[in-house]
C-alpha cells in the first residue's frame, strides 16, 4: 500500500479535490510531518500536473482542478506546521486585482499557474485597496507582488502600489498584467515584470526571482 505522502501526491495528480482533505487529515493522524506532506506530497504532485500542462498533455481545467486539490489539502496541513517553520517554495507571491476592479479570472489563472510551478501564492482577491497591497507586502515580505487590472480606468491603481513600495526600498519585484496593460506601461510605472497572458507569467516570475 502507498504511504500517506505518496497518496497525497497522487491525489493532486488525479485532481481529487473533493476528497483530498480527508487524506490530509488521515496523514496527520498517522503522525506524518505536515512539512513533508506538503513538500514531498502536494508540491511534487502539482509539479507533475504543471509539467503535463506545459507539455500540452492536459488543459487549463485540469490544471485548475489540480491546484484546487492542492489548496484543499494545504488548508488542512498548513495550520499543523510548527510555528517558525515554513515550507520551501520557488518564492512567495502576493497577488490580487486592483482597487475598483472586480475582474477575477486572469488573476486566478496566474495564481494557479504560479502555484503549479512551485510558487507559494497568497491571493488577496479582487477590488484590493492599494493600501492593502502595501500592508500585506510589508507583513509577508514576498518576493513578488502581482497585480491585475482589466480596465484602462483601474490601471493607475498599480502605480499607487508600486510607488510607496519603491519609496520604502522594500526588496520586491512587481509583476503586472491584464487586457489593457502593456510592457510600455509597466516600464512607465516601474514594474519589473509584465506578462501578456497567464501562461507566460510563470516565466516572467521565474526570471524575477532568479
Amino acid at each position: 500500500m502507498e504511504d500517506a505522502v505518496t497518496r497525497l501526491k497522487n491525489a493532486v495528480i488525479n485532481y481529487e479535490m473533493e476528497t483530498i482533505a480527508d487524506l490530509a487529515k488521515k496523514a496527520l493522524a498517522e503522525g506524518v510531518d505536515p512539512l513533508v506532506a506538503i513538500e514531498k506530497g502536494l508540491a511534487e504532485g502539482i509539479k507533475v500536473v504543471g509539467e503535463r500542462f506545459g507539455k500540452g498533455e492536459i488543459y487549463l481545467p485540469e490544471l485548475v482542478m489540480g491546484a484546487e486539490a492542492m489548496k484543499a489539502a494545504l488548508a488542512v496541513l498548513e495550520p499543523a506546521v510548527p510555528s517558525g517553520k515554513h515550507r520551501a517554495s520557488a518564492g512567495l507571491v502576493v497577488i490580487g486585482t486592483v482597487q475598483d476592479d472586480i475582474h477575477e479570472i486572469g488573476k486566478n489563472l496566474v495564481a494557479t499557474m504560479l502555484s503549479a510551478n512551485g510558487f507559494e501564492v497568497v491571493d488577496l482577491g479582487v477590488n484590493v485597496a492599494s493600501t492593502e497591497f502595501t500592508k500585506k507586502v510589508e507583513e509577508l515580505k514576498p518576493k513578488i507582488v502581482a497585480m491585475s487590472a482589466l480596465m484602462t480606468t483601474t490601471m493607475p491603481r498599480m502605480a499607487e502600489v508600486i510607488g510607496p513600495i519603491k519609496k520604502k526600498s522594500i526588496p520586491i519585484k512587481a509583476l503586472i498584467g491584464g487586457a489593457p496593460v502593456t510592457d510600455v506601461y509597466a516600464r512607465e510605472i516601474g514594474a519589473e515584470g509584465y506578462s501578456g497572458d497567464a501562461s507566460s507569467a510563470v516565466d516572467v516570475a521565474k526570471k524575477l526571482v532568479g
Binding site: L60, P61, I102, H103, I105, M151, P180
Partner: protein, 480 residues
C-alpha cells in the same frame, strides 16, 4: 441609408424551441441565483418593483413577471443617428451595420511600422479611414488615446472621432457619471444643443456587466446619466465559455441573456423607453493559452445566437465579429475574422463589432480596416443571397444565346452584373504574370495603397466650431 448589409438570406443558429429554452433558462437564473447589482440606487428601484434584494451581497433576485414585462418595453424602432443624415443606421433586424471596434490600447504606426501604444492621432486616423469605407456603418473608436492626461481620455477620444467621421459613434470610455456628462456636452455641441441630441442621438454609450452575473454600480449609474439624456445604451456582456461562463455555448448564452435582461429591467425602471441594445462579445477561454479565443468558430456561433435572442425580445443586437487573436494581418486573421463574422451577419445581427483590430481587439492597423471592410462586403453579398424569379432565371437570354456562345455582349449581362457580382477593391484576381508584372504586391501592400488613397481623396464634413470650444472648456475643467 447608411452603409449596411441587407440580410435577405437569413441563416439561424437557434430554432424557435432553442430560443424558448434559453429564455426560460435566463429567467430561472435571474430568479434562483440572481445578479449582484452594486448600486444602491438601482437596488432601491428593484426592491420597489418587487425584486428580492440582499443588501449584504448586493444579489438581486428578479421575479419572472417583472423581467418579461420590462423586456417588452423595448419592442420598438431604434435608430443610431449619424452626424449627417445619410449615415443614419436603422436597427430593424433586417440589416447589419459593421462597426469598427473598440477600445484597443495599441497601434501599428502606419508610417514608422512600429507597434506602440495608441495615441489620439490613431483615434482620429482610424475614424477617418473607417468613414471612407463602404463595408463600415458606424464608428466605435478603434483605440483609446493613451497619450493624454488621466481623466481627459473620454474628451479626446470623442473629439477625435467626431471630427473624423460623420457616422454614428458608440463610445465606451465614459465609465463614470461625470465622464458621461462631458460626452453629452460634447455631442450636444456637435449637433447644436441638448434637445437636438435627444432628437437625434449621434452617440450611444456602452456599459457592461462583469460576467458571471455582476453589474458594477459606477458604470451602471453612468449609464443612467446617458439614458436620461436620451442616449441609447449598449449593454455589453462577455461571459466567456469555459472561463466566465459555462463551457457549453448554450449555457454561456443563457448567462449573457440573463445579465442583459437584468440590465434592461434596471434601465427601464430608471427611465421607461430607454433604447437598450443587447451587446455581447462571447468568445471561449483558450484552454491552453489561457487567453480569450476571439474569432473562434464558437465566437461566431455565440454572436449569432445572442443576436437571435435579442430579436426574440425585440432588442437590437451588437455582437462580436471580424475578431482575431492573430498578431499580423495574415491568413489566421482572415480565417478567424470570417469565421466570427459570417454566422452573426447571416443571423441578422444589427451591428457587428468590429473591424480593424488584431490581437483580440487590442491593436489597430489601418490596413486591416480596409481589408475587413472588403470582407464585410463579401459577406454582404452572401447575405443578400440569390434571387430566383423570371428575370433572374433569364430564360429569354439563354434561348437567345443558344448553344456554345457567350453572354458577355448581352444587354441582360450589362444590366445585371454590377448588382449580381461582388467587385473587390483589394482582392487580386489577375494571373500570376500580370500580378508579377505589377510588382507582386501582397494584400497588405494593396491595403496600404488604399489607405493612402483615402487620406488623399476622402473628405469629412467639418464639425461646428462650438465643439472645439467645448473641448477646451472641458479639458480645462478636468485638468484641474
Amino acid at each position: 441609408m447608411a452603409n449596411c448589409i441587407t440580410v435577405s438570406c437569413k441563416r439561424n443558429v437557434l430554432s424557435e424551441d432553442d430560443m424558448r429554452m434559453i429564455h426560460y433558462a435566463a429567467l430561472e437564473i435571474l430568479e434562483v441565483t440572481g445578479v449582484a447589482v452594486r448600486s444602491e440606487k438601482a437596488q432601491k428601484m428593484l426592491q420597489d418593483a418587487g425584486c428580492d434584494v440582499d443588501k449584504k451581497s448586493a444579489v438581486v433576485k428578479f421575479p419572472q413577471r417583472l423581467v418579461e414585462e420590462l423586456s417588452r418595453k423595448n419592442n420598438r424602432a431604434v435608430t443610431f443617428y449619424g452626424r449627417t443624415r445619410k449615415h443614419d443606421a436603422r436597427l430593424d433586424g433586417e440589416h447589419t451595420y459593421v462597426a469598427s471596434d473598440g477600445n484597443g490600447t495599441m497601434a501599428m504606426d502606419f508610417e514608422t511600422r512600429q507597434r506602440r501604444e495608441s495615441r489620439k492621432s490613431d483615434v482620429a486616423k482610424s475614424a477617418f479611414v473607417s468613414d471612407a469605407l463602404s463595408g463600415h456603418g458606424m464608428n466605435w473608436p478603434s483605440v483609446t488615446s493613451q497619450d493624454v492626461p488621466q481623466g481627459t481620455r473620454h474628451i479626446h477620444d470623442l473629439q477625435a472621432s467626431l471630427e473624423n467621421t460623420e457616422k454614428h459613434i458608440t463610445i465606451a470610455t465614459d465609465t463614470t457619471s461625470w465622464e458621461v456628462e462631458d460626452v453629452i456636452e460634447l455631442a450636444s455641441a456637435a449637433v447644436g444643443g441638448r434637445d437636438e441630441l435627444r432628437k437625434r442621438p449621434i452617440i450611444s454609450s456602452i456599459h457592461t456587466s462583469s460576467s458571471p452575473l455582476q453589474i458594477e454600480g459606477e458604470g451602471l449609474e453612468a449609464g443612467f446619466v446617458a439614458a436620461n439624456a436620451g442616449i441609447p445604451i449598449c449593454f455589453y456582456v462577455m461571459p466567456g465559455p469555459g472561463g466566465t461562463g459555462p463551457a457549453t455555448l448554450a449555457g454561456s448564452v443563457a448567462v449573457g441573456v440573463a445579465e442583459a435582461l437584468a440590465g434592461n429591467t434596471i434601465f427601464q425602471l430608471n427611465q421607461v423607453g430607454t433604447s437598450f441594445v443587447f451587446a455581447a462579445g462571447m468568445a471561449n477561454l483558450d484552454m491552453r493559452a489561457s487567453t480569450r479565443a476571439g474569432g473562434s468558430p464558437e465566437h461566431g456561433l455565440t454572436s449569432a445566437a445572442y443576436a437571435q435572442m435579442a430579436h426574440y425580445y425585440g432588442f437590437p443586437a451588437l455582437v462580436g465579429g471580424f475578431v482575431t487573436t492573430s498578431k499580423e494581418p495574415d491568413q489566421q486573421a482572415s480565417a478567424e475574422k470570417l469565421a466570427s463574422a459570417i454566422p452573426p451577419i447571416l443571423a441578422g445581427a444589427d451591428m457587428i463589432a468590429g473591424i480593424g483590430l488584431l490581437e483580440d481587439c487590442r491593436t489597430v492597423w489601418l490596413e486591416q480596416l480596409v481589408i475587413d471592410s472588403e470582407m464585410s462586403q463579401m459577406i454582404s453579398r452572401m447575405a443578400r443571397g440569390m434571387e430566383v424569379n423570371e428575370d433572374s432565371l433569364a430564360l429569354d437570354v439563354i434561348h437567345k444565346v443558344g448553344v456554345g456562345k457567350d453572354y458577355l455582349g448581352q444587354r441582360h449581362t450589362v444590366e445585371k452584373f454590377r448588382t449580381e457580382h461582388f467587385m473587390p477593391t483589394l482582392a487580386d484576381r489577375t494571373s500570376w504574370d500580370s500580378w508579377a508584372q505589377r510588382g507582386s504586391k501582397t494584400l497588405l501592400d494593396r491595403a496600404a495603397q488604399e489607405v493612402r488613397r483615402i487620406f488623399k481623396e476622402h473628405r469629412v464634413e467639418p464639425v461646428p466650431k462650438e465643439l472645439g470650444e467645448t473641448v477646451d472648456k472641458l479639458l480645462k475643467k478636468r485638468s484641474k
